[in-house]
């Protein structure tokens, strides 16, 4: 390893999961220079998955979600302060408090924030929430403790569905409004969504699909909502779960390839500039990154996944302190989980990168199954419900580009196995943004030539 790379100044903008794991990895790989972590959230890094589960259920206080360290990071923390700009020539990060942080290498892990309710006046009603930070979760949990008459969840992606699940487990009435045809369709497609819809209804969720919320009503306090089908519901809490917005605005003037779909980078996590030229001192990891993946035809993926934040941060950090030939690509097979309505849903691969899906193991009736997704005759994803121990086998099929439909195997499967369309919708028809975005063929914006 080159001595230079182990020294100098590294700044990490974004002090959540990816930023923390990157910082630890930098130290583990022998980085001995100065390390600064900048985070907008005043809290040190905490774990978000429990926010929509344990915290909303009232089992864990929102502030008790801090992440454990793998090793000491010996870093300067600048928390509660937002980065407002990046000067790539002078190599400085500009902060909202006027401070400027010079760096030799920069890692961008600014992640995402919750997409707010589009009408600011309605969003300001007491009882209208989004869920992204621990503060959000704490406030929602407090309101749920108070026993609202009905909770309205807007958007039936994973977050919305988990919120609905927590409400039902607390015995609260809940209405879920989703513009798409079923819950989870944005991530898992329509065939799986049909299952999710049955599941929600079986657990007493008042699920309304194919509708939008046209207005949140109330006078200072939320009292209800109007839906596009003309119906009205009364609710004293609404949780807006419309997906996430990538925190890239601060990079608008930076010359980097940053836009609403994230900051594009190469397989080694090095950011591209707006001309598609790779930088060598700016790296990116986590939800904010768009990166090419060979298993998915080198399309640029942006993944809002816990596991991707960890793995990509590790690769980025490794590459920040390694000379060219020793750098590694970020090739991990995407994976995520969700627990809702007593079930464990796990996914490997990219289910939205599919045209067909087949039930390969188990049965929906038993709520134990593996669904395998394929695209143009090869396996691209698998999703299990309470069948996690089987997923490794299907992950190997994805990694080896095995033919789809997969060979019928095992003793616990439907006969015959019949692939059906996976019905992955155009993201535009959903309430919630997709947690996996295939962004390669959808350029964010036109190039404009900037002369300096």
């Amino acid at each position: 390893m080159s001595g230079d790379l182990r020294d100098g100044r590294i700044v990490i903008v974004g002090a959540s999961l990816a930023g923390l794991r990157a910082a630890e990895t930098l130290r583990e790989k022998g980085f001995a220079g100065s390390l600064t972590l900048v985070g907008e959230d005043p809290r040190p890094p905490y774990d978000r998955p429990p926010l929509s589960k344990q915290v909303l259920l009232g089992r864990v206080p929102a502030e008790d979600t801090g992440l454990p360290l793998r090793r000491p990071v010996d870093a300067q923390w600048k928390l509660g302060v937002r980065a407002t700009g990046l000067d790539p020539i002078e190599k400085r990060v500009l902060l909202a408090n006027g401070e400027q942080l010079p760096f030799d290498r920069l890692l961008i892990t600014t992640g995402t924030r919750a997409r707010p309710w589009p009408n600011p006046a309605e969003a300001a009603l007491d009882g209208v929430f989004t869920l992204r930070t621990s503060e959000d979760a704490g406030r929602i949990a407090e309101r749920l403790d108070a026993g609202p008459r009905r909770v309205l969840v807007i958007g039936a992606g994973f977050t919305g569905s988990e919120i609905a699940s927590a409400c039902r487990e607390r015995g609260l009435d809940v209405t879920v409004a989703e513009r798409g045809p079923a819950p989870l369709v944005g991530a898992l497609g329509g065939s799986f969504g049909a299952l999710a819809a049955k599941l929600q209804r079986a657990h007493g969720v008042d699920l309304r699909c194919g509708v939008t919320v046209t207005a949140l009503t109330g006078n200072g306090r939320l009292t209800g909502a109007e839906l596009s089908d003309g119906s009205r519901i009364e609710a004293d809490i609404a949780v807006v779960a419309l997906g996430a917005i990538r925190n890239t605005e601060w990079l608008a003037e930076s010359g980097l390839a940053a836009g609403p779909r994230g900051l594009a980078c190469d397989a080694g996590c090095r950011a591209f500039n707006m001309y598609g030229i790779v930088t060598d001192d700016v790296f990116v990891a986590g939800d904010v990154a768009r990166f090419p993946h060979p298993l998915f035809e080198y399309q640029l993926l942006s993944l809002e996944h816990w596991g991707n934040a960890v793995e990509q941060a590790e690769v980025a950090a490794h590459n920040m302190v390694s000379p060219g030939p020793l750098r590694r690509p970020h090739l991990a097979v995407p994976a995520f989980w969700s627990s809702q309505f007593g079930l464990n849903i796990k996914s490997v691969g990219v289910p939205t990168f599919s045209d067909q899906v087949v039930l390969a193991q188990g049965s929906p009736k038993e709520a134990r199954l593996v669904a395998v997704y394929g695209y143009r005759g090869r396996v691209t994803a698998a999703v299990s419900v309470n069948q996690a121990k089987s997923l490794e086998y299907y992950q190997r099929l994805i990694e080896t580009a095995a033919p789809f439909p997969p060979e019928p195997v095992g003793t616990d499967r439907p006969e015959p196995m019949t692939p059906v369309p996976s019905d992955v919708p155009d993201p535009a028809v959903l309430s919630h943004g997709p947690t996996v975005a295939l962004t390669g063929h959808l350029p964010d914006r036109r190039l404009t030539l900037v002369r300096r």
């Binding site: 193991q361 188990g362 049965s363 038993e366 134990r368 121990k389 089987s390 490794e392 086998y393 190997r396 060979e407 195997v409 095992g410 003793t411 616990d412 499967r413």
Partner: protein
């Protein structure tokens, strides 16, 4: 030596004390057909993959050459370890209901004090003895007492079920040879007797619930219903045998390993909080279940370039995978602080050991108690005499000496 004799040598009693060089040979030779038609796998990554592979069956009826152990009768079905999903899953879930989460999450944790007390009592019984047989004096009676309490089997019946157990275990021993069929016949007979015995014990509790698993099997009904009487018999035979015949080996292998590594024994005596990880390392280094002999593929499969035909006996040598240098650094070193120790000691996948948490707790407490009370312990013979089985491998006796001043 030709690979086709490797299985003979692994199962040969003469190699029981140290099969590990043979496992190294097995890993070198890849996956090969043995003389008796079975295929042995000894490489970590391949074993781990096969344990998660839906194409692999645990049901011996799927073997091309059926054997007596595959016999499935209406009055005594095979236990769930010899079944495939979805039936395996249903039975395992029903058996789990009174044992652990999600229905009975606190049961094993609540046994902590009782296990520690049993261990202390056994140690107290050895007061003044400067020579101990770790197996007969400690490692055997401890788990027997525990499993009897848990299931609701009278402890004084041990001589009866011990004899049946020995026959049943001998019938699982895949050592090729002329007496295999005979062993399988008498094993089946003992299973039937033991099943009837346990079925009657369970039946007595119907309507008279007590705090044990047999009682729960007949009295509690969950969303999936309950076990039938033949299923109760098959399941409780499995739990009673597995509950006392594997833990004894793990405790004994543990004591033997620690006496061979006195510096580690000393470290654990000083820092008992290291014991949980030390037990995981024991499970890697000297696992009580050395191999899973009853798998077979449901279709022709390829493992390390070899085609294993549908229905062929497929033997997964867990203890070999645990020593695979492609997975574990310095695999032949006993390192109680080993990081990322994803050993195969309890198997993996849907059939991973049902009783693992109980075994872990028992062995952690047993070893902690034992080393606290042993003053200057020494092996009398090394290697000690081993039990016959190459599958459930462990010493038959482990005589040790200690100083008795002050105890």
């Amino acid at each position: 030596m030709a690979a086709d004799t490797l299985f003979h040598r692994i199962t040969d009693y003469a190699n029981r004390a140290d099969p590990y060089p043979l496992y190294a040979e097995l890993r070198e030779s890849g996956v090969t057909r043995q003389q008796d038609g079975s295929y042995l796998v000894g490489a970590y990554h391949e074993i781990a993959a096969l344990l998660h592979d839906p194409r692999i069956s645990s049901d011996r009826r799927n073997r091309t050459a059926a054997d007596a152990a595959a016999t499935c009768e209406e009055d005594l079905p095979v236990s769930f370890i010899a079944m495939d999903d979805p039936e395996h899953n249903r039975l395992r879930r029903l058996a789990m209901r009174p044992f652990g989460p999600p229905h009975t999450p606190g049961r094993i944790d609540a046994m902590h004090g009782e296990i520690a007390r049993i261990a202390d009592e056994l140690i107290a019984g050895l007061r003044g003895k400067d020579r101990i047989d770790v197996v007969d004096d400690f490692a055997y009676p401890l788990p027997v007492t525990v499993i009897c309490r848990l299931l609701g089997v009278p402890r004084e019946d041990e001589p009866r079920f011990h004899a049946w157990t020995q026959e049943i275990i001998a019938s699982f021993d895949p050592t090729p040879g002329e007496d295999l069929a005979e062993r399988q016949r008498s094993g089946l007979e003992s299973r039937r007797t033991m099943g009837r015995y346990l079925g009657e014990l369970a039946e007595k509790r119907r309507g008279h619930p007590s705090d044990d698993m047999l009682s729960a099997f007949v009295n509690d009904e969950g969303p999936d219903g309950r076990l039938t009487q033949p299923e109760i018999m098959a399941t409780s035979v499995l739990l009673l045998i597995a509950g006392h015949e594997t833990t004894v080996n793990l405790i004994t292998n543990g004591v033997l390993t620690l006496l061979r590594h006195p510096e580690e024994l000393e470290r654990l005596r000083r820092r008992p909080e290291l014991m949980p990880r030390a037990v995981e390392e024991l499970l890697r280094y000297e696992p009580p279940v050395q191999m899973l002999p009853q798998r077979s593929p449901l279709a022709d499969i390829e493992v390390l370039g070899t085609t294993v035909p549908k229905g062929a006996p497929l033997i997964l040598v867990l203890a070999s995978g645990n020593r695979d240098p492609l997975r574990f650094r310095d695999p032949d070193r006993f390192d109680p602080t080993r990081e990322d120790n994803r050993h195969l000691g309890f198997g993996s996948g849907v059939h991973s050991c049902f009783g693992a948490p109980l075994a872990r707790l028992e062995v952690q407490l047993a070893l902690t108690t034992l080393i606290r009370h042993l003053d200057n312990p020494r092996l009398v013979e090394d290697p000690p005499p081993y039990r016959r089985s190459p599958v459930l491998r462990g010493p038959r006796h482990l005589p040790i000496e200690r100083d008795t001043t002050g105890t």
